[in-house]
């Protein structure tokens, strides 16, 4: 076997396992400035039309989900995209050879200057709306353009990806991603794992692959090959085949109960990000849902009670009598929600997020509690609140739930009083877990890890401080398990650690007997449970 003379090897961290062979594609950086080199006027006109159409679609969707002032502003912006006096001069400039984005910026800036010159606070506020719509169209021009031009089968190379960029790409056409920055614990990495998109992060030194150059990634082992030779490709194929064998084994045990080598029964539940995750998924593979995120419901502002009730009911129906834990809104941190979260906090991860935010927005929190209590009439539902720090917060949440249940009682509306549990993700809560009046504990190991190591989840280059299994995190998990035993309430773990078979043994050693994992990991985690022997039981 001969190795290709041009082959270059780069190492990184596996963020989402898998293998891919394809051609490199580098994502351009965004920005509000002119980024295009003008192509032929017809091409620029087409890019402009695509941008306008995409921006209008976004505004229509946003507007449908908003009310009051927010909807008025969106309506105004939408009307501007269909305003001939505004748009025609842009088309004329494009026809004269100006790039689509440049022509758009010039026209809008002219308009914005006019508003600012009026010296009127109402007009100044509208100038901000104009800037906003200007940038939305610019992003749409750049985005639609770029996404449309990425060739099928490409492997993306970028410094980092935002969750919205990740979600905006059609991964069924793309092989995987290579990030020179990023981190294995970031939200993008979690998204990549749950979608089965092979992804490498922290690849250093910066890979020298040019756009279109052949590359291959082993995102299970953490290696990128530029211009891979025949021997490398054969090796990757062998690894992929071995991986496929394990996947087949995992599939075979997916519906079986999880029992350790020495006979201890372990419950394996699934995490749900949105109801769509359940499509095509059989509830027979799990012992229930250990974490249902509800942020998707709030993507365009707070949903009403009926909307929430319908979604919770659908999830309970899927579970068919298995327990379902639903987490109340966990906004803030890196998950801002327009109109609900607080903008401009200097460090949002240490700011008003999770239950802290819900307690400051009781009008929104009550609606969610009410919908949850009503849904609980139909099946075993548990409510979990995120980011609890001190026992008083748990008491405040419990009072609000009590009031909600009383109100439903008075109104004669069908409901049940669901157990109220806490997510353990702040080290202060893990250390003093026994002090909290909670009906169950669910450990959020992602945030617990970042808070106890003081290393942000999305930061690059500090992974030597957070190697897993991290003994400090295991210590805090063990303490929480012990607190749960003493108080006689259940303890589970729903963080990303639970989905990683290489960590299963260490988790079971802490005494945990309930894991909530990504649906795609159920089989592999059950295989890992079957290999484990019980650790020392405290």
């Amino acid at each position: 076997m001969t190795s290709q003379p041009n082959e270059r090897v780069f190492r990184g961290r596996p963020a989402a396992p898998g293998f891919a062979v394809g051609r490199a594609w580098r994502l351009a950086e965004g920005g509000g400035a002119v980024a295009r080199v003008a192509g032929p006027p017809e091409a620029e006109q087409a890019a402009f039309d695509r941008g306008l159409r995409l921006a209008a679609e976004q505004l229509t969707q946003l507007s449908a989900a908003s009310d009051g002032l927010g909807a008025d502003i969106l309506e105004f912006q939408l009307a501007l995209l269909d305003d001939d006096d505004l748009i025609d001069p842009v088309r004329k400039r494009i026809a004269a050879g100006v790039a689509a984005d440049e022509a758009w910026i010039a026209r809008l800036d002219e308009e914005i200057d006019g508003y600012l010159a009026a010296n009127d606070e109402h007009m100044a506020a509208r100038a901000a709306d104009l800037r906003d719509v200007r940038d939305r169209v610019l992003r749409a021009i750049a985005g639609s353009d770029e996404v449309a031009t990425i060739p099928d089968g490409s492997i993306l190379i970028a410094d980092d990806l935002t969750p919205s960029t990740f979600l905006g790409l059609d991964w069924s056409r793309l092989g995987g991603a290579v990030l020179t920055g990023g981190s294995a614990t970031s939200h993008v990495s979690i998204l990549a794992r749950s979608r089965g998109v092979p992804m490498l992060v922290e690849v250093q030194p910066e890979p020298d692959a040019a756009c279109g150059e052949p590359i291959a990634i082993d995102a299970t082992g953490g290696v990128l090959f530029v211009c891979p030779g025949a021997a490398t490709l054969a090796g990757l194929e062998a690894s992929r085949a071995a991986d496929a064998r394990i996947a087949a084994e995992a599939l075979a045990v997916e519906r079986l109960p999880a029992v350790t080598a020495d006979g201890r029964s372990i419950k394996v539940l699934v995490n749900v990000n949105a109801p769509g995750d359940l499509d095509g998924l059989s509830p027979a593979i799990c012992d229930g849902i250990g974490l249902t995120r509800t942020e998707f419901l709030f993507a365009h502002g707070a949903p009403d009670e009926a909307t929430q009730l319908a979604v919770y009911g659908r999830i309970l129906a899927w579970a068919g009598g298995r327990p379902v834990t639903i987490r109340t809104l966990d906004a803030g941190g890196d998950k801002p929600v327009p109109g609900i979260t607080i903008d401009g906090e200097s460090n949002p991860f240490l700011g008003t997020r999770g239950l802290r935010l819900s307690l400051k927005r009781p009008h929104i929190f009550r609606v969610q509690l009410k919908a949850l209590a009503r849904a609980a009439a139909a099946g075993p539902l548990r409510i979990m609140v995120p980011m609890v720090t001190v026992p008083e917060e748990m008491e405040a949440a419990r009072r609000l739930l009590d009031e909600t249940v009383d109100e439903l009682q008075r109104q004669g509306i069908a409901h049940a009083r669901p157990p109220l549990g806490m997510m353990v993700e702040v080290p202060a809560a893990a250390l003093m877990a026994e002090q909290f009046a909670t009906d169950f504990y669910s450990i959020g190991s992602n945030d617990l890890g970042q808070y106890v190591t003081a290393v942000a989840r999305d930061i690059s280059g500090l992974s030597h401080l957070t190697r897993e299994p991290n003994p400090t995190v295991l210590e805090l998990i063990g303490r929480t398990v012990a607190a749960g035993r003493r108080r006689g309430v259940p303890v589970s773990l729903c963080g990303d650690m639970a989905s990683r078979p290489e960590l299963t043994g260490a988790l079971l050693d802490t005494g945990l007997d309930t894991l909530s994992v990504a649906p795609a990991s159920v089989g592999r985690v059950k295989l890992a449970v079957a290999r484990a022997v019980s650790g020392p039981r405290p």
Partner: protein, 97 residues
């Protein structure tokens, strides 16, 4: 041009003047008609396109400003009157809409 203009007048009832929300309503209504529809504030020279929200915004018509409305084309009369009524009832939707 030998266009025949249907004209009428209306008074801005909104305390904050003809701002974004009214401007959107005015232009949406104007766009329902085939006629050319134009507006201006009483006393100013230039007529502006009543189907363009950005142009209507530039009127900066304040509370109690008198708006002149003119329309030309097949449904000119109906257009001018519809716009007049919309401004006079302070941009409130009527049940019939």
């Amino acid at each position: 041009m030998s266009e025949v203009w249907e004209t009428c007048r209306a008074v801005v009832q909104d305390k904050t003047g003809l701002h974004a929300r009214p401007a959107v309503k005015l232009t949406k209504l104007a766009k329902r008609f085939a006629a050319r529809v134009e507006v201006r504030q009483e006393g100013s020279e230039a007529w502006i396109n009543a189907k363009s929200p950005s142009s209507v915004m530039r009127l900066k018509a304040p509370y109690l400003a008198v708006l002149e409305i003119r329309a030309a084309g097949d449904d000119a009369r109906a257009a001018a009157e519809a716009l007049r009524d919309l401004v006079n009832r302070d941009f409130n939707d009527v049940a019939a809409e």
